[in-house]
């Protein structure tokens, strides 16, 4: 069970049960849909941009614990950040997920997002943890395409 606890850390289970920023946002300036057809995860991401800042961000949808917690923690992490800061964060987060499984992830600069360090031991779950971020990317590009992780 130890490696399962690495994956399903308490913070992740909490955010899965009670996700933050889980709501509609009528005044969103950007909207994107994320879809992971393999697992049936579906995510709608709302972003309100003011200047070059993410003034507000929220999401709705259904998905596995990893994808839901990742979306929840992402919204917490990027709210108030500049677009450039959000992008840097995504880069670091991606490294955390895809680094070699035998090397302990350091999670520096990631704050609470570091709870996803266990995901690298479960390569098939990486796409679950990145769905929200892919969707964010597509929202920021303002593309109307559905973001997909497969």
């Amino acid at each position: 069970m130890t490696d399962l606890r690495d994956l399903y850390q308490e913070v992740i289970l909490d955010h899965n049960k009670s996700p933050h920023n889980f709501r509609e946002m009528p005044d969103a300036t950007r909207l994107a849909l994320g879809n992971n057809p393999l697992c049936g995860d579906k995510l709608k991401l709302y972003v309100r941009i003011e200047g070059d800042r993410i003034a507000d961000v929220a999401f709705q949808g259904s998905g596995c614990a990893i994808s839901k917690a990742s979306a929840s923690l992402m919204t917490d992490a990027i709210k108030g950040k500049s677009l450039a800061e959000a992008e840097t964060l995504y880069g670091k987060f991606h490294e955390l997920l895809t680094g070699p499984p035998d090397v302990k992830a350091d999670g520096a600069g990631l704050g609470k997002l570091a709870v996803f360090s266990g995901v690298r031991e479960f390569p098939v779950r990486v796409k679950c943890a990145t769905l929200a971020w892919h969707t964010l990317e597509s929202a920021l590009k303002n593309s109307h395409d559905v973001a997909k992780t497969e």
């Binding site: 069970m1 697992c39 259904s62």
Partner: protein, 419 residues
């Protein structure tokens, strides 16, 4: 080629010895994540018995050559082995002749072959193709492509809350415009066994031919296509303890003669000039290019092996697992079984309250238990039940009650993690 004679090879034993059967599958003795493998993903693909593995190895080690065109000894041996595979498949399905068996890459290609033929010559604007709400994507999308090309319309028979397709609903959607009905024998997502014999009778009464997707039925139910009366029957090798990349389409001689070739190339011709090509006889008219020779051999061996175990005994054994598993899983709080057809193959699709199927799959995997999670290539079925996905445990002839116990215990672990 000789006509196919019935009955099946003698069943080996009067009592079902699951341990002896397990011993024939080398992979079943391995462990996964330090736990004994419990393989409950049989509707996805089945494991292979030693007989099939050995047949493929023996072909490559002793008989490998191209078929139908060599004058040399090896080519003759390879041709015999491959065509022998076809005869075994014909016998397995109860076909009147091996000429009615076309080797394909699998069920998907078999359905595409028929759909492409219909789209080319037999479907026109305003015609209808009838399918059911239970179908796998492979029995939906080829017909959508055919309809798109011809202006025909896809008509879908709805399913009930239990996951059944009522015969009267099927009948009421047969119209003078219906050109073909394509129905699954056994649903891969819910396990429902469709009353295909009734469907065939209803369709034939109106002159409508029927294609049956038998991918999930072949490893579970004794088959006799002549008795079913269907016009086409499609199977996949890898779902019936045979190799991947090989399957078969049964078609009545009448229909196979009527259908145009699927692909052009070598082996499917009788003579070629730049002005005109004459096609080969059945079934080779549909087999362009060098075939999956070892696959055909392996599928034949799998068919004989399965008949040797005896599908009536297999069906009984699996039904016991289904009944036992349904009882055990129903007792788990928050667990809902999706698909409660009265006639059901040994497959349990389920959801667990507040836990996504993907998370169930990961936790079970760490216990050595392989199941499938997701939409099972049947998104319309999931939509019908308002679900994004389910977890699915599907049983094979080598599974045991102890493995069903392990499944139930592991679902308990999921509850431990998720509270």
């Amino acid at each position: 080629m000789s006509a196919v004679t019935k009955p099946f090879p003698e069943a080996r034993a009067s009592t079902y010895d699951v341990e002896a059967i397990r011993a024939e599958f080398p992979i079943l003795s391995r462990s996964v994540h330090g736990k004994p493998l419990v393989y409950l993903d049989n509707a996805n693909t089945t494991q292979k018995p030693r007989a099939v593995i050995d047949a493929i190895r023996r072909y490559y080690e002793e008989e490998n050559a191209n078929i139908h065109r060599g004058t040399h000894w090896l080519s003759e041996k390879a041709t015999e082995a491959y065509e022998g595979g076809r005869e075994k498949v014909a016998r397995f399905l109860g076909a009147a002749s091996p000429k009615e068996i076309v080797f394909t890459r699998g069920t998907t290609e078999a359905i595409n072959l028929v759909a492409a033929g219909f789209a080319r010559d037999l479907l026109h604007a305003g015609d209808e193709v009838l399918i059911t709400g239970l179908e796998h994507h492979s029995n939906i999308v080829p017909w959508q492509l055919a309809c798109e090309k011809t202006g025909a319309r896809l008509v879908v028979v709805p399913i009930t809350d239990d996951g059944e397709v009522p015969a009267d609903e099927f009948e009421s959607r047969l119209t003078p415009r219906t050109k073909l009905a394509a129905v699954s024998h056994v649903s891969n997502a819910l396990g429902t066994v469709n009353p295909v014999k009734t469907f065939v009778a209803l369709a034939h009464a109106r002159g409508v031919p029927v294609l049956v997707d038998g991918a999930q039925a072949a490893p579970h139910i004794p088959l006799d296509v002549v008795e079913l009366g269907c016009d086409f029957y499609a199977i996949s090798g890898h779902k019936m303890y045979g190799p991947t990349g090989i399957g078969a389409l049964y078609g009545t001689r009448e229909w196979l003669e009527k259908l145009p070739p699927y692909q052009g190339g070598g082996d499917m011709i009788s003579s070629v000039t730049f002005e005109k090509t004459t096609y080969n006889a059945l079934p080779w008219k549909f087999e362009a290019g060098t075939a999956n020779i070892s696959g055909g051999i392996g599928l034949g061996v799998a068919a004989d092996w399965l008949s040797g175990v005896g599908l009536t005994a297999v069906a009984e054994h699996e039904h016991d697992l289904l009944v036992y598993g349904t009882k055990l899983l129903s007792a788990i709080s928050g667990l809902t079984i999706v698909g409660r057809a009265k006639e059901k193959a040994a497959l349990i699709s389920f959801t667990l309250e507040n836990v996504h199927p993907h998370d169930i799959g990961t936790i079970l995997d760490r216990e050595g238990i392989a199941i499938r999670t997701g939409h099972h290539c049947a998104q319309p079925v999931m939509d019908r039940f308002g679900l994004p996905a389910t977890a699915r445990a599907s049983f094979g002839l080598y599974n045991t009650r102890a493995e069903v116990d392990a499944l139930a215990a592991a679902i308990g672990k999921v509850r431990e993690v998720f509270g």
